[in-house]
Symmetry: none
Subunit: 461 residues, 2 copies
């Protein structure tokens, strides 16, 4: 054991200060008015890479002024040593206090051992814990036995439009033996977990129009199909009474879990049931009754309404009969499913069930991403297992993640193996109000990545 | 025939100038920054009443500084003569040129025989044509044989909060034999129409919640009933496939039209079909197939979704699984139906069909108003018929209005009979951009009200 571990512990207060500094920068990649904030953060991160001893670091400007990548590299282990690529993203979701935050979303606030701020878990936790792990290694006389590349994305929360093209054009810049994607959440504060599968996604909008303009509901109500009602009727037909998606062919390509995989995910049933009661806490659970909670989240596709609007939505009342109603819909996909095929299945069905009294327009939003399955026996996954055990003191369990990490798919093109090292918690309210992380997670995460780098280095010995 | 008619024709250019003067005053009752404009208009109208020879006129300040009433009275016909109460409102909807106006909304502009301005039809047309009719009468040596009261409301477009209370507290101020409510639109430029029924209304909100907070749709999608979906499922059950409301008991108290009434409204089928194609122009008509368009609008109750929202509704995409979704719902009511009873029927049904996976909250919005039916054979309606025929040269047709004119209900408390004398056109874009009125409508309206006063006066002879 080197003393990188001790270095991290000795410097943990300063590390926390730097983490807080980054959290204050409003790196909201979907909002053009925050472009300067994103650029400032990128510059700050590049300088940090240089300061901690990486060989070179660079802010890579993206086409059309989109949020830049930050790349850093340390090649001191030599050409024969394995190379680990660490991916994180430094941009965040929008947040305003009116969404239900108890404190200002961009004023980091520590309370009862937790740090509250937009981006605290998703994903500046990962950016900072990994950079601080690299710093802890490079500060030692005895350097790591693996080369290190770090790539920090600035537009993960706004569609990752450019990173895929960048990887395709410059695969050598990110090529590695092992890619460690650091994002997401472990099972529990005291129970790390390794993800061996991620759901994919496709996203779309459905626009329903009936009259050519907003009407007075008294003058014309009763003679025209209210588009909100028509859209609701369409949405209501997309699931059966037990929560199965009714789109024809929707489940056709779904690859069923093996018996071994079902056993692995069954281990997390109690944790997820408990977490559901805390985080979701709806009057009842919902979803395909023949699958347990971790299977519904990780092994089954979904069709979710992410947003709906139409007519008057302000305070008070306006007796409008609106011209139009819109739903934003996304499907989470599992291995075997193709994003485009699934989107088209949904569109075909919506057009089939749409009443003739309205016009329906279907629009694909963003490029879809397929689901990903990772090999549990790989060097990368095993290094992750050892790293988690070192930092948390317990063996990680194995999970199927419900979310998408589209970069996983891209990293599989430039790295022989991929592992996802998540340091957040599901209860950390990523994307929601009062996003937060236990400070202990931050400290554990740094220790875990230090160990991970050691393990990858020793894998070549 | 007196020469009040000729007087009005002789003075029509001056009347138009005065109408234009009133139109320039931005009497937007919903916007506190226009409170002084409203007060100026009230003062100007009061002075006009005095100048044209009314016995007294008064600006009645309303509680909490809301827009005042203007009352005027001429009692020269004596205690034995009938009294007619004329109701209009002088406040207007907000308007800015960005809404799509071709000319400034508060700069009256005459083009091709039409006058464009916010309030041109709704409802300064009615205020001015009625005051100018009263002036034309009082300028004669031979005075009218009916006493006249005029009440001009200043907050019709912002909820009419105070006028009902004022009437309840001072019924004698507005008491009359006949109330003439002057607002709204006739069937067509060359075809006047008399409304013999108005729909009532009740308004409500339905809030559906599933998780306790917004969630990441990847993390939890598949395990919780999406509240937008649940709300859509509820809304989809409120109508059958042919557009009938499925709420149990909803139609129980509906009074069917008599055969004679069905014949009357059947006359306007061609006009409404043509207007539907121009104004609504959805891919197909919708609604109870056993009723024609004027019956669906005037004689059948509706349940309309006036607004819906939930989840992410901005540009782009956010893969949220929202905590909550809200629908704003209103029912248009017909004679026989009680607003509270109907709202409770809807609420009971929604609670009955709501799935156990979500919580549903139902909220009554605003106080409901029952529908109103007016007796075609009354002195007031027959005076209206004669007045329209005199001014337009054709017999009016009879209509059932789809909207509510809540003041009708209040006027029925202080007057024995009520008639609605509309002088606008449905194509006049009340509440919309480029609101306008044909000048000929203004001149016809003055002649019509002169005749109406004559008819009421002679009814006592």
């Amino acid at each position: 054991m080197t003393n990188a571990y001790q270095y991290a512990k000795n410097n943990q207060d300063r590390f926390l200060d730097e983490y807080i500094h980054l959290l204050k920068i409003q790196t909201i990649s979907t909002q053009p008015e925050h472009a300067q904030d994103v650029a400032d953060a990128a510059e700050w991160l590049k300088n940090m890479m240089l300061n901690i001893g990486m060989d070179n670091a660079e802010v890579i400007l993206m086409p059309e002024g989109r949020c830049p990548l930050v790349l850093g590299e340390w090649h001191g282990a030599g050409d024969d040593a394995p190379t680990v690529l660490i991916y994180c993203h430094y941009d965040v979701q929008p947040a305003v206090i009116e969404d239900g935050w108890d404190t200002d979303p961009f004023t980091p606030t520590i309370k009862d051992g937790r740090l509250y701020c937009r981006g605290a878990v998703d994903s500046k936790l990962h950016v900072m814990s990994n950079l601080k792990a690299v710093e802890s290694w490079l500060a030692q006389d005895e350097k790591p036995k693996a080369n290190i590349k770090v790539v920090l994305e600035g537009e993960e929360e706004s569609g990752s439009e450019n990173i895929n093209a960048f990887i395709a054009k410059h695969p050598e810049r990110l090529s590695a033996d092992i890619a460690m994607i650091s994002d997401g959440a472990i099972l529990d504060l005291e129970q790390p977990s390794l993800i061996f599968g991620l759901r994919g996604m496709c996203a779309m909008e459905v626009h329903v129009q009936a009259p050519i303009a907003d009407l007075h509901s008294g003058h014309w109500g009763g003679t025209v199909h209210n588009p909100i009602q028509a859209l609701s009727e369409i949405i209501a037909k997309l699931h059966d009474d037990e929560g199965r998606v009714t789109v024809p062919g929707f489940y056709d390509d779904v690859e069923a879990l093996t018996d071994e995989e079902r056993e692995l995910v069954a281990q997390v049933v109690p944790n997820l049931e408990a977490e559901w009661s805390e985080v979701v806490n709806a009057p009842q659970q919902y979803g395909e009754p023949e699958y347990n909670i971790p299977e519904r989240i990780g092994a089954r596709p979904t069709l979710e309404i992410n947003g709906i609007y139409g007519g008057y939505t302000g305070t008070g009342f306006k007796t409008v009969l609106p011209a139009k109603a819109v739903a934003k819909i996304s499907c989470r996909l599992v291995p075997g499913q193709d994003p485009d095929k699934t989107a088209n299945q949904v569109f075909d069905y919506i057009r089939e069930i749409a009443p003739p009294t309205v016009t329906v327009e279907t629009i694909v939003k963003e490029s879809g991403a397929p689901a990903v399955k990772l090999d549990i026996s790989s060097t990368a996954m095993q290094a992750g297992r050892v790293a988690y055990k070192h930092a948390w003191g317990v063996e990680p369990v194995f999970e199927l993640a419900g979310g998408s990490v589209p970069i996983t798919f891209e990293c599989m093109k430039v790295a022989d193996e991929v592992v996802i090292m998540s340091y957040g918690l599901k209860s950390g309210r990523a994307h929601g109000p009062n996003e937060n992380i236990y400070l202990q997670n931050f400290y554990n995460a740094i220790q875990s990545t230090i160990k991970f780098i050691e393990e990858v280095g020793s894998s070549n010995g």
